[in-house]
């Protein structure tokens, strides 16, 4: 059974229709990436999965229907969303941001352990733990967003352009940690990226989205070999 499944997903902002029947699925423990140009509908797809836009069509997570549910309830099922723009609580401290990530959890002791664990992944955040999060650099805020999502102990992470605006070295570090989290903690990931080369290296499977439709899907290796993808998204 697929961990996440969307079938014939439509979404619109007011009168503007953005998704025109997208279908995809991913298996537990895997990393899947949604590729596509700016404006293709990638962010909208992730928002649809979290009940943040009006949708039509079926969505299932772990076999349960999630379409039509409130964002808060979907999050409580174990889906952590690292949103476009990072979603930092700018006036709270770094540590308060992280604790909010664990807001729905009851296991207090394990939350403390997890706090140490994410500080282990991102030592910079430990140095900045008492600092107002709005004053962190872009890269640090992205690390914070990923860490806040990890604090939920999610089954599935939705990551919206984690590489956006970051220096290449930091992107490499971040993607390395995502891979570790996936392998060691078995967290499944749905990653939206414009940086197709990095995303295909990270992911097992890929879907290519153009103007609200899936136009190509397959294993990362197959997608990487596709001529059209090479020309339009990989640039060689």
């Amino acid at each position: 059974m697929a961990l996440l499944e969307a079938s014939n997903l439509h979404a619109a902002y007011g009168q503007t229709r953005v998704l025109h029947g997208i279908s995809f699925s991913m298996e537990e423990g895997t990393i899947t990436t949604l590729l596509g140009a700016n404006g293709a509908g990638k962010t909208t797809t992730l928002r649809a999965l979290c009940g943040m836009v009006r949708t039509e069509g079926k969505m299932r997570f772990g076999g349960q229907r999630i379409d039509g549910r409130a964002t808060e309830d979907i999050v409580r099922m174990g889906i952590a969303h690292v949103p476009d723009g990072r979603g930092t609580f700018a006036n709270l401290t770094t540590e308060e941001n992280l604790r909010l990530g664990a807001y729905t959890r009851q296991d207090r002791a394990a939350v403390e352990t997890d706090l140490e664990r994410v500080y282990g992944y991102f030592p910079r955040l430990r140095e900045r733990r008492a600092q107002q999060a709005g004053t962190l650099s872009g890269g640090e805020q992205q690390m914070l967003a990923v860490s806040r999502a990890l604090m939920l102990r999610p089954k599935l992470m939705l990551l919206d352009e984690p590489s956006f605006g970051l220096a290449p070295l930091i992107v490499k570090e971040l993607f390395g940690i995502l891979r570790t989290v996936n392998e060691k903690e078995h967290v499944s990931m749905l990653v939206v990226e414009q940086n197709a080369a990095m995303a295909l290296d990270l992911a097992d499977h890929a879907y290519l989205i153009e103007t609200g439709r899936v136009v190509l899907s397959g294993s990362s290796d197959d997608i990487r070999k596709d001529d059209a993808v090479r020309r339009s998204y990989l640039g060689y």
């Binding site: 808060e72 949103p83 990530g101 807001y103 939920l152």
Partner: protein, 290 residues
């Protein structure tokens, strides 16, 4: 000198009450960016509930806590039933709802209890405490109660997960939903807390000004001035502003402009702050890097 000291101390007592109501205003403002004009009438209504309970023979402190609890629930219910439907409406519609709430609470109270003034008991002794000649025991008691309320609130916001969630929901509702916070209920909780704080303020001010349906009109104006002086988005600033306005009101009223013009102090402060320093003395300058 003695007279001045007396006025300053009396000002601190009423200032604490303004501080509480200002804090209630700031809490709702932070969460919704609306000023709840009905905050004072809500407190007045709560005080009448307390009056009824005490008159029915309930001991003062039992009535006090029951009133606080009842006001909390009333605040939650008002948010869910009255405010929620207009949550995303234009500012003007929301203001109209607040004004309607104010008028309804005022006239319903007048209709139930009549508009004649009533005395409201103080839980504190008649004789001045420790034989001091500067403050009545009610004034000292009111300051203490106010301080306890403020400290409890500070602890709640600073040290509890729910308090943290309330701060988060006020500044970033979307991210709050993404960590599982039920933002709608958090707003209702904010209304409940604000109504509970207002109830305490009402019960503390009623022995000083007498109980009548219009007793909170002046208090709300002073509290609004206090919130503006401190910065409408700063809880600490609201508390500071409350004490400042209380002292200014008493000292200027006694020595400079006379009691009749006291309310003008609030208006001058409001206009002064809005023109000179709209963010108030403690209004935050948000530092954000993109």
């Amino acid at each position: 000198m003695d007279a001045l000291l007396h006025q300053v101390l009396a000002g601190l007592a009423t200032g604490g009450i303004y501080a509480s109501v200002a804090l209630a205003l700031v809490m709702i403002y932070q969460a919704t960016h609306h000023v709840n004009f009905a905050q004072g009438e809500l407190a007045m209504f709560s005080t009448y509930i307390a009056w009824s309970l005490i008159n029915a023979g309930m001991p003062y402190w039992a009535a006090f806590f029951l009133t606080v609890a009842f006001s909390f629930v009333l605040g939650v219910v008002i948010e869910r039933v009255v405010i929620r439907p207009v949550e995303n409406s234009p500012v003007l519609s929301v203001v109209v709802v607040f004004i309607a709430l104010l008028v309804i609470l005022n006239s319903v109270t007048g209709w139930i209890y009549t508009f004649t003034i009533k005395t409201f008991p103080s839980p504190f002794p008649e004789q001045p405490l420790f034989g001091n000649k500067y403050m009545s025991s009610h004034e000292i008691g009111a300051i203490c109660i106010t301080m306890v309320v403020l400290l409890l609130l500070y602890g709640f916001f600073r040290f509890t997960p729910l308090g943290l969630a309330m701060r988060a929901a006020a500044q970033n509702p979307e991210s709050s939903r993404l960590v599982g916070i039920r933002v709608g209920w958090i707003l209702a909780l904010g209304w409940g807390l604000a109504a509970a704080i207002g109830a305490v303020a009402g019960m503390m001010v009623a022995p000083i000004v007498f109980l009548d349906p219009n007793m909170m009109g002046g208090v709300l104006l002073y509290a609004f001035a206090a919130a503006l002086v401190g910065g409408i988005d700063s809880p600490g600033g609201a508390v500071f502003g409350g004490f400042l306005v209380g002292v200014l009101e008493n000292v200027l009223g006694a020595f400079v402009i006379g009691n009749e013009l006291k309310l003008a102090v609030a208006l001058v402060l409001i206009i002064g702050v809005l023109t000179v320093r709209p963010s108030g003395f403690f209004g935050k300058v948000h530092v954000t890097r993109v």
